[in-house]
Amino acid sequence: MAFKLEELLICCLSRKLHKKRHIAIGAASPIPAGAAFMAREEANKGMHITLLASQKHNHFTDGSRELFDAAAQGRIDAFFLGGVQIDGQANINLIGTGEYPNTQRRFPGSFGSALMYYVVPSVFLFRLQHNRRSMVEAVDFISAPGFSPPEVYRPGGPVALITDKCLFAVDSEKQRFRLESLHPNVSLEEVIDLTGFAFDYEENPPTTETPTSSQLDLLRGTIAQEIAESYPLFAKQTFGI
């Protein structure tokens, strides 16, 4: 059964979320949202999903600080962070490129990354334009560091990086990425070529598990409807609804 890249990514991310109790998703993140809905449907009906962009799927009642407080308390199991740039040490840059503060290309800002990245046990990095401008050797500005020295309070951190080309796992010991799988029709050479940082890999990396037809049915049915409530434009483009 044919599928779109977005569908592959949702199913791929979803498998990582099966055991989570509470997943929080920031603004403009339809793929993580889809993955969370999918995981809840497939693996854990009791899972709690917070979409910060939604009113319906946001149950916080103590203002927006409650997300950060709840995360600091260890009550949020998984969160997702993008990055204008991501480097080989999993540092993320949400500020812009060039020398700060007079950045050449300025982006919105660091949002809550400088706490969330430290305290949420499973942070998934995502970046859908995998190229040497986004996957860099060293970010121009560290909005939040990938790893911290042992004296720094850090119960959380990165566990994976998903792009439009592949999935990286995080090796916390070595503090670097390890290629976990290549998306269909992507070669190892291509990923090496598009990636500005060094990473570990096997000679013949596996291919990212593709969605089954029952997964696609679920995704295009129930899940697409759930996604559409918060991300109508994405749902229209991806699922035609």
């Binding site: 203002g63 927006s64 600091a72 950045t103 300025r106 800002g109 500005f141 909005s143 939040a144 434009l233």
Partner: protein, 269 residues
């Protein structure tokens, strides 16, 4: 407790050049009618403190030349793309951005809320944000016998905060619902004004269910009625964002000229 009603012009009159202005997030009720009045009055050298980020409010004030600095976790139009004036002004070196992160902005106001000089915070250590914030300090946790750095965020008190809300009651209480961070912004500000869709002829405290979402009137100096006062932004449960308007803004405000004609059209009303 009593209601002091005023006009939007009178609120804007109270904002002096050089004011540190509290700026609420979009979901908290953005006083856009007041923002347009600030621009009409030609304010300058405003310092903005966003809780914890801003969209159109900061972007328009920046584009109109009203702003000296902005302390924020982000300025963005969200689904409508980057904040065009913010982006342009930063890239041209014309705006002082005190880059922060959401919980640090909350922490700064929570310190003022309790009248303590600082709030400790986790995270942040190792972020380049800290390098550029000489006003933040890292201390060693005095309760730990191991090395344990903790960052301290100093208290911030906006001079004036203005928010937009659905309704006020006859005694000057304002219903804000569950988006409670504006309460912290108001508690921490020296002076507060509110614009509302309507003033109703009841007292919210007569109903304990309503009362749970009330900002007590004694924090608020005066209230102005501004129908559609958050337009073109949304006001929770009242009206959605004006998508066409935002798209139009996102395009036109990319250039000085486009922004100027946008302003000319939208300030006239």
């Amino acid at each position: 407790m009593s209601l002091h009603e005023c006009s939007i012009q009178e609120i804007a009159d109270e904002v002096q050049n050089g004011t540190l202005l509290g700026v609420p997030a979009d979901y908290s009720g953005v006083p856009m009618a007041f923002v347009r009045e600030l621009i009409r009055q030609g304010k300058s050298e405003l310092d903005l403190f966003c809780l914890p980020q801003s969209t159109l409010q900061a972007d328009m004030l920046i584009g109109a030349g009203c702003v000296r600095s902005v302390e924020t976790a982000a300025v963005t139009l969200g689904e409508y793309g980057q904040a065009p004036c913010f982006t342009r002004f930063v890239q041209e070196g014309r705006l002082n951005v005190k880059d922060s992160t959401c919980p640090a902005l909350h922490a700064a106001l929570q310190a003022t809320e309790r009248a303590v000089p600082f709030s400790p915070l986790r995270g942040l250590i190792g972020s380049d944000l800290v390098k550029h914030r000489p006003d933040w300090q890292v201390i060693s946790n005095p309760f730990s016998d191991q090395e344990d750095p903790v960052i301290l965020i100093p208290a911030v008190s906006p001079d004036v905060t203005v928010i937009h809300a659905q309704k006020a009651d006859k005694n000057g209480n304002v219903w804000i619902g569950r988006r409670k961070e504006v309460a912290t912004l108001i508690h921490a500000s020296k002076r507060n004004f509110v614009t509302v869709e309507e003033i109703v002829d009841t007292d919210f405290y007569e109903d304990e269910v309503l009362a749970a979402g009330v900002l007590p009137g004694f924090y608020i100096e005066a209230i102005a009625v501004a129908k559609d006062g958050a337009w073109p932004l949304a006001l929770s449960d009242r009206y959605p964002i004006d998508e066409a308007h935002l798209k139009d803004y996102a395009t036109r405000a990319k250039t000085e000229e486009g922004f100027a004609t946008y302003l000319a059209e939208n300030l006239a009303a």
